[in-house]
């Protein structure tokens, strides 16, 4: 009896362990499927207000690994030249009028709307989150992930991943206690070339901003190696020159 019990328990633990390993591995796969570790990218951000009014921004972004991300707004004219920089846990905002970058937090929003700075200067999930639990529901995996430290924008995420494509379908951003902050919907999978096949549209809404919607449309993603000096405060006004 005892022998049977111990064998059973060992199998259960192994299965759990296997799942745990699978969870983190899956997350890593999702990260790689979404973006190469170093790239340049063009995105359009559309903020939709409850009365239907729209505001569109075009953003150019470069990334090197999980520690360096930089971006600059190309349009509209009122925002052209506004830059952002992420180094590790730190973020800065550059406004041409001001002349010198100011340090901001990941939760503040540089554009208004539902997306915030962390959403825009996104790095790998795996760099910030660890898988706590994994479920399977039909043709999707559901990953419950928790932030690795307190400086990460969201304490918890629920990520629904398509089993076949290993791409996210839906993502919920939650507080530590599980309150919903916002939901991201990944749509329109497109081939961006060089083996990058991923959703080209992310829609977001939030129970905290009823009636508001934000949409991110990816138009170009290309692998690119970039020098370290691109990701410095002094280079912020010049990110545009990389295009």
């Amino acid at each position: 009896m005892l022998k049977r019990l111990s064998v059973f328990l060992t199998l259960v633990f192994m299965a759990a362990a296997a799942h745990a390993i699978d969870g983190d591995a899956l997350l890593r796969e999702v990260d790689r499927n979404l973006e190469p570790p170093s790239y340049e990218m063009y995105r359009k951000l559309i903020n939709v207000e409850p009365d239907g009014r729209k505001k569109e921004f075009v953003l150019y972004m470069v990334r090197k690994g999980n520690e360096k991300v930089a971006g600059v707004f190309l349009s509209p004219a009122s925002d052209k030249g506004r830059g952002m920089l992420r180094l590790g846990d730190n973020m800065w905002l550059y406004i041409p009028n001001v002349g010198k970058p100011i340090r901001i937090t990941s939760l503040q929003s540089a554009t208004g709307g539902v997306f915030n700075n962390a959403d825009i200067l996104k790095i790998d999930f795996g760099a910030e989150y660890a898988v706590e639990k994994m479920e399977e529901t039909g043709d999707q995996y559901l990953l419950h992930v928790k932030a690795k430290n307190k400086t990460v924008a969201y304490d918890r995420l629920n990520i629904w991943v398509d089993k076949k494509q290993k791409l996210p379908v839906k993502l919920e951003c939650l507080t530590e206690k599980g309150m919903l902050i916002k939901t991201l919907y990944y749509k329109d999978v497109k081939d961006f070339g060089e083996g990058i096949v991923r959703p080209s549209v992310i829609e977001t809404d939030s129970p905290l901003y009823k009636g508001y919607k934000s949409v991110m449309i990816f138009s170009k993603i290309k692998k690119r190696d970039l020098k370290d000096e691109v990701f410095t405060l002094t280079f912020m006004p010049k990110v545009d020159t990389l295009r």
């Binding site: 903020n47 505001k55 509209p76 009028n97 010198k100 100011i102 540089a110």
Partner: protein, 412 residues
């Protein structure tokens, strides 16, 4: 008439100890009410003038719907230039208005480059603003109230938190109405003290700078603060302004503006109302004391003097005259209590003033309580006590006048 009062005074002396007791009781009650009223009025007025004179103004005008979303500092609820002009015309045309001041309210971020945090700002025209809110300059702890273009007054708590001083450079970042983000460098012109209530933690910049920061073209205004010539005429002034503003309607026939007194804008008005209610209760208590005290004394007096009453009725005194005699006695007791009470009250009030009692409110300390001897309040309380004294003696005096002489004469 004089004879009746002469007799009344002599009769109160007849039962000297009893009279002294009731007069003392009334006097104590009067002192309590007068001093309480003077103190609470001083307290209330100090706080209210703090709120209205250093921040809110007496009355504020907004676009309709603004106040409901005031916490969000909404930019889409501003008055257009044309609407602002119409509002200004109404204000200029009202004789009760002393001055007004236009403001833009906005929310944004303030950064010293190393740290960025949220800030609420009020953009003003200093000339107008200081006329309308005259105590605002006194809230400035360091630096100058003479704001120049590109300068900002930063709230004390924020300055402490970010270790800012006058002359430092900061960046103000604001989201514009259309959603775009703009920033501008400012120099800190001064540090401003927190005031109690909403808006007490705002920073201040010039209207022109705000319009630049918000890329406001054409210019807009969030609120207009109004100062009246005479604050005691708040209600009639408000009513006349309200009437004028409600006439202004938009294309759908709905009112363009909304207008509120400081009471609707500050939670302190609830406290002020509570203080008024407590004052009323204290007055009611005084009335009860006087009424019951006098009635008690007069009932005893009538009972003890039944035979005397019978005598004067027998020799031909009219019932109404008997009534008047006893009411005069009650009135004399009341009057003595009022006079003694008022004299004592004046002494106590001046005593409190000399003591320099201070109190704190909100984040500020060192308000000095300065109760005043207000002749109107004193007269009203005195009149109330006298009226109640007469009322209290009414029933016993009535019974005295209705005594049957035959029965009264038989009593001991």
């Amino acid at each position: 008439m004089l004879k009746i009062f002469k007799m009344a005074v002599r009769n109160t002396h007849r039962y000297a100890r009893r009279s002294l007791l009731i007069v003392s009781l009334i006097a104590v009650g009067v002192v309590f009410v007068q001093v309480y009223m003077a103190a609470t009025n001083s307290y209330k007025n100090l706080i209210i003038s703090q709120i209205t004179d250093s921040m809110l103004g007496h009355i504020q005008v907004h676009k309709k719907g603004y106040l409901v979303s005031v916490e969000n500092v909404p930019l889409n609820m501003n008055l257009t230039a044309e609407q602002t002009a119409r509002a200004e015309a109404i204000l200029k045309g009202n004789p009760l208005v002393e001055s007004y001041s236009t403001r833009i309210k906005l929310g944004g971020m303030i950064s010293n480059f190393a740290e960025t945090t949220n800030i609420r700002l009020a953009a003003i025209n200093p000339g107008e603003e200081f006329k309308t809110v005259p105590l605002l300059p006194s809230r400035i702890l360091e630096g100058t109230s003479n704001l120049k273009p590109g300068e900002a007054l930063v709230p004390e708590l924020l300055a402490k938190g970010m270790k800012l001083k006058t002359g430092d450079t900061v960046v103000l970042v604001a989201t514009n109405k259309d959603g775009s983000v703009n920033g501008k460098q400012f120099t800190i012109g001064g540090i401003i003290e927190t005031a109690p209530g909403p808006g007490g933690r705002d920073g201040y910049i010039l209207l022109a700078d705000a319009m630049e920061l918000l890329r406001m073209e054409p210019p807009e205004i969030s609120e207009i603060a109004v100062r009246l010539k005479d604050f005691s005429k708040l209600e009639p002034a408000f009513n006349s302004l309200m009437k004028a503003f409600m006439q202004e309607k938009n294309k759908d026939g709905k009112p363009v503006f909304e207008i509120h007194t400081w009471e609707k804008l500050s939670p302190f008005s609830a406290i002020a109302k509570m203080i008024n209610m407590m004052t009323l209760m204290v007055k009611i208590m005084l009335v009860a004391i006087v009424l019951i005290g006098i009635m008690n004394v007069m009932i005893m007096s009538v009972y003890e003097r039944t035979r005397e009453i019978g005598t004067i009725a027998a020799i031909g005194t009219q019932p109404n005259t008997i009534l008047a005699m006893f009411m005069a006695e009650g009135l004399c007791l009341g009057a003595a209590g009022v006079i003694a009470g008022n004299i004592l009250s004046v002494a106590v009030i001046y005593g409190v003033r000399l003591m320099h009692v201070t109190f704190a409110f909100g984040m500020r300390e060192g308000f000095v309580l300065t109760p005043e001897v207000n002749p109107v309040d004193f007269s009203i309380i005195s009149a109330i006590v006298l009226a109640v004294a007469v009322l209290g003696s009414l029933q016993p005096a009535w019974k005295a006048s209705r005594l049957e002489p035959v029965k009264a004469l038989k009593s001991i």
